[in-house]
């Protein structure tokens, strides 16, 4: 009987203890929720202004000259702002200072052809990617046999000397014994070599490649990229509501075709 009482006593104490732990945990969760919910998005909504940081030295994504600020990222920022019912305000920084500007709350978001850097993810969060700047294959429009790198054995592949496309081609060269790699001084020259039938395909970064395609109507790009180098928007790690809204807007722009229109306008 005594034992039973003890057991009961322990049980009661356990139940009370569990109850206290649950209450404490709930309180902590409440505190955490309050902390995460910072005021950035509220301030943006109240002012109606989205402050965008960029380094305007990277055409065609962003460039500032006598004609003003223009580029793919500039149009994208305007489109996102319009989608969210906001005005956009651009603030210029050097490439090295972009994340510092974001951390010190001089801007709300960076839209500046930024690659996703895992090392930055402790302090910053990235949106869904909006552009893949990785390596792409460019071939003649009537080429039907080359659909991927594996189809290039016995073919001539042109690349920019020393560029990442060249590194990737060398890696494939170890798997494809009859792949001939032809080097050029620029990505544009590598693409021109295909247009002039000196090479069967070019492996170049998506930006250079798509720009070069505009000058060579006899060429096309293989839709499946060879490598992935995604560009994304960056916000401070705690600005979750802002990030949600930016992602929702990117998704909306993608679904409506607006994102592709902007990309095509600057890269095709």
């Amino acid at each position: 009987m005594m034992k039973l009482n003890n057991i009961r006593g322990i049980k009661v104490t356990k139940v009370r203890f569990t109850f206290y732990v649950l209450r404490f945990t709930f309180f902590l969760l409440l505190l955490t929720a309050c902390k995460v919910e910072n005021l950035t998005w509220e301030r943006i909504e109240k002012d109606g202004i989205l402050r965008v940081g960029l380094d305007p030295t990277y055409p065609p994504f962003e460039a500032a000259d006598d004609g003003g600020l223009r580029g793919l990222d500039v149009d994208l920022a305007h489109a996102i702002a319009a989608d969210l019912g906001l005005e956009v305000e651009f603030v210029y920084f050097g490439y090295d200072g972009l994340y510092d500007a974001l951390a010190t709350e001089q801007v709300d978001v960076l839209i500046s052809a930024l690659v996703i850097v895992p090392g930055q993810m402790r302090d910053f969060a990235y949106s869904e990617p909006y552009f893949n700047a990785g390596e792409i294959l460019i071939v003649p429009t009537d080429e039907m046999e080359i659909m991927e790198m594996g189809d290039l054995d016995g073919r001539i592949l042109s690349v920019e000397l020393g560029a990442l496309g060249h590194v990737e081609a060398n890696t494939w060269g170890q798997r494809l014994p009859n792949l001939t790699i032809q080097t050029h001084n620029s990505a544009a020259a590598a693409v021109t070599a295909v247009a002039q039938s000196q090479a069967d395909a070019a492996l170049v970064d998506a930006i250079s490649g798509r720009l070069a395609l505009a000058e060579h109507p006899t060429l096309k790009r293989i839709p499946q990229p060879v490598t992935v180098e995604p560009f994304a928007l960056a916000v401070r790690i705690d600005d979750e509501r802002l990030l949600e809204n930016l992602n929702a807007s990117l998704e909306h722009l993608n679904e409506t075709g607006k994102l592709n229109t902007i990309i095509a306008q600057w890269l095709n």
Partner: protein
């Protein structure tokens, strides 16, 4: 009584069952590790020799943060196969020595043993201050006069331990930048004081080791700048303060930025041939005999960094720079390129200085240098 017996029996059954379960778990705990593949045994292998038609060629490796031994070995194999005769490597004091004086030698032992096995000479740069040797809430680069003796003592022990294995030791790095002092406001005299403290102790511990004065950062920062001081002004002030007595050779950083290597030097221009202006200051102070060791050099081919060049230019400039240094700078002992490989990608412009990717894929610039050295 019956109930008690029954309870006792059931208690015994539970205990017996628990014992069996525990025993099973114990057996599993013993057997499970034995089922794991054995750790890979890495041995330095037979001693190798570097073949190089241009022995001035060297590289700055980044093995400080490389944890896996096979990656250390693979890196150094690739360095040797490229025809580089020396590596410059960073050995942070802060990583190794505890407050009680004990030193964790495992990692530097690995790096130096594998480098020597590949036939590579090691130029060791010592820096970064342990927490116990600097005030609280100061960065790793903070170093003040209170810790000079401790720094000297560690460097001397390092020099002694690796006698015959490490040929050169660099005292600190880019002392003309405030960052390298943990943003403590310093003057060239502070660095000369450091050299004067460290040099005699290290030479006493290992008379064979060549002590190099730390390379200055090429910069045009004026006096009073919160970032640093013009390297030429700084070097001049170092010599004026008597620095020449406290180093056997001078480390120099020679970056080309956007200029071809042949571009003539000028005091207001940061380019590869700035080395010649450094040399002129050494001559002005009668230090003609002291040799220069270029411990960082090269070009960057990041697609959007304003100080970068195209990848093809980077290859050409690098090869031309090696040729230029060999042909025109008899006082330059070695020319190390920054940087051979990083353990992990930075996803920013530093990646575009490297010769080999983190995955050990050699870049075309590596292949060109390898060909240049006759390999």
């Amino acid at each position: 009584m019956k109930d008690e017996l029954s309870a006792s029996h059931s208690s015994f059954t539970i205990r017996h069952s628990s014992f069996k379960t525990g025993l099973r778990l114990l057996v599993l705990a013993i057997i499970f590790p034995l089922l794991q593949p054995a750790p890979i045994l890495i041995t330095p292998g037979p001693p190798q020799t570097v073949y190089s038609e241009h022995p001035i060629t060297a590289v700055h490796t980044r093995l400080t943060d490389e944890v896996e031994e096979w990656k250390i070995q693979r890196t150094l194999q690739l360095v040797r196969e490229m025809g580089a005769t020396r590596i410059v490597e960073f050995f942070p004091w802060a990583y190794y020595q505890s407050e009680d004086g004990s030193v964790a030698w495992e990692h530097p032992d690995q790096v130096i043993e594998h480098a020597n096995a590949q036939g590579l000479e090691v130029i060791a740069r010592i820096g970064l201050t342990p927490g116990w040797a600097r005030p609280k809430e100061t960065p790793l680069t903070y170093l003040d006069a209170n810790a000079y003796d401790d720094f000297a003592a560690f460097t001397a022990v390092f020099a002694q331990r690796y006698r015959g294995q490490v040929s050169h030791i660099i005292i600190g790095n880019e002392p003309n930048l405030n960052y390298e002092w943990g943003y403590r406001i310093t003057t060239p005299q502070d660095y000369v004081d450091l050299l004067a403290t460290v040099y005699p102790v290290v030479k006493q511990a290992n008379p064979d080791v060549v002590v190099l004065g730390g390379a200055l950062a090429p910069t045009l920062e004026p006096a009073g700048s919160p970032w640093g001081l013009n390297d030429l002004e700084y070097l001049d002030a170092m010599y004026a303060a008597g620095a020449a007595d406290y180093f056997d050779g001078l480390a120099v950083h020679a970056y080309g930025l956007t200029f071809p290597p042949e571009t003539a030097p000028a005091p207001d221009l940061l380019n590869f041939r700035r080395v010649e202006l450094v040399r002129q200051i050494m001559r002005d102070y009668g230090d003609d005999e002291t040799r220069i060791f270029i411990t960082e050099s090269g070009w960057n081919d990041h697609p959007r960094w304003t100080q970068a060049v195209r990848p093809g230019q980077r290859i050409q400039y690098t090869l031309d720079a090696l040729r230029y240094a060999e042909a025109n700078w008899p006082y330059v002992e070695t020319m190390a390129l920054w940087a051979f490989r990083y353990p992990a990608p930075t996803k920013s412009y530093p990646d575009y200085y490297t010769l080999v990717t983190p995955e050990f894929v050699t870049k075309p610039i590596y292949d060109e240098i390898k060909q240049y050295t006759g390999n």
